[in-house]
């Protein structure tokens, strides 16, 4: 996702479009998170800022430790 400093917009129009995209995405994430919390109240949600799309590649060790933690809950 675009974050300030990650992609420099060429003009104000592009900046406005990028900000609108980020706002919309954030709303989607917030709604998704709220839905999950509502349907699975004891769900543990871990935020990995900047992890990108394929977080099991970019943040392998953190993902593995969270999976291990999740599996312990199942046991």
């Amino acid at each position: 996702l675009w974050r300030p400093g990650k992609l420099i917009p060429k003009n104000e129009s592009e900046r406005a479009a990028l900000e609108a995209f980020v706002d919309a995405t954030q709303k989607y994430e917030d709604r998704w998170t709220a839905n999950l919390r509502e349907s699975v109240p004891d769900a543990r949600i871990v935020d990995l800022p900047g992890a990108g799309h394929f977080l099991f590649i970019s943040r392998k060790s953190e993902v593995l430790s969270e999976i291990a933690r999740f599996l312990e809950v199942l046991d």
Binding site: F54, F56, I57, K60, L64, I67, L74
Partner: protein
Amino acid sequence: MSAAEVRQTVATAPWVRGLIFTVLIPGTIAIYIPFSLADSLTPPGGFWNAGWLVSGIGAAGYFLCFMHFLASGGTPALTFTRPVRFLIGEEPHRLIQAGLYRLTRNPMYMSVLLVIFGQAIRYASWRIAAYGLLVWLGFHIVVVLLEEPHLRQEQGAAYDEYCRRVPRWIVRLRTPGSGLRAVAVGMTAILFGCHDARRADTSWRDLSPHKTQFVEAQQHVRLEVLDWGGTGRPMVLLSGSGLSAHIYDEFAPKLAAFGHVYGISRRGYGQSSKPDGGYENRRLAQDIFEVVNALKLDHPPVLKTTHGAPGTICGGQEN
């Protein structure tokens, strides 16, 4: 063992101090840093496995030098580690000229370099090779500016005579300069070979340690299932739209520490069948259930990525 006993052991046992030095200095320079540089690389295998041999020779050389140092009443050390000699020891006071020291004046440094260059070969990494050259340059500066003047002062004429007899770095072959030329040729070959191997290595190769099987999810539709092994609880990795289960090639072997890991390539991708239809969420979810049932996996946790399996969730609500 109390803290006082640990201190006593370190103070009285040179091999403990030598071991601490080995872990801290050569361990960092020759293993930790090259390993970090190779983090995202997959060893190309084949001929490049010769790197194991080179690193092994380096490790053996280091061990032999280490034993010589201990036998001479010292431990491996650097000039600038003298202030912490209570922890990592210090060099022996007499000049070692036996063993590998008959061939080169700095076999321990050379051994460390061999460990590094062995890893450069194993990973076909010009970055590690370039790092090795940089380390060599650093060693050269330390040896010429610090260690040799120090030894000359300590040992006097005996050291001068030793220097005349034994080269600083490269083992002397039959004709003067031939050893240096051989190393220069070898280094150039490693650097260019690594560069070419990485440049040529643009096509994907299946190097992840797994078995592949196919499960019929629907008539005439077979799905590719990768099995990375592991024991205990089965776990299923689902690939997203546009991806096969190979997206988990690096991750799955590590996850196998926690259970038996399977990956499923959805229809249309990887080696799974590519039928004309059946790509709606409900059918995709049914595909997953067919595989899970065929493999007799008992309520496996499912890890999905990206547009991995909205259908699984959708189907899961119904099943």
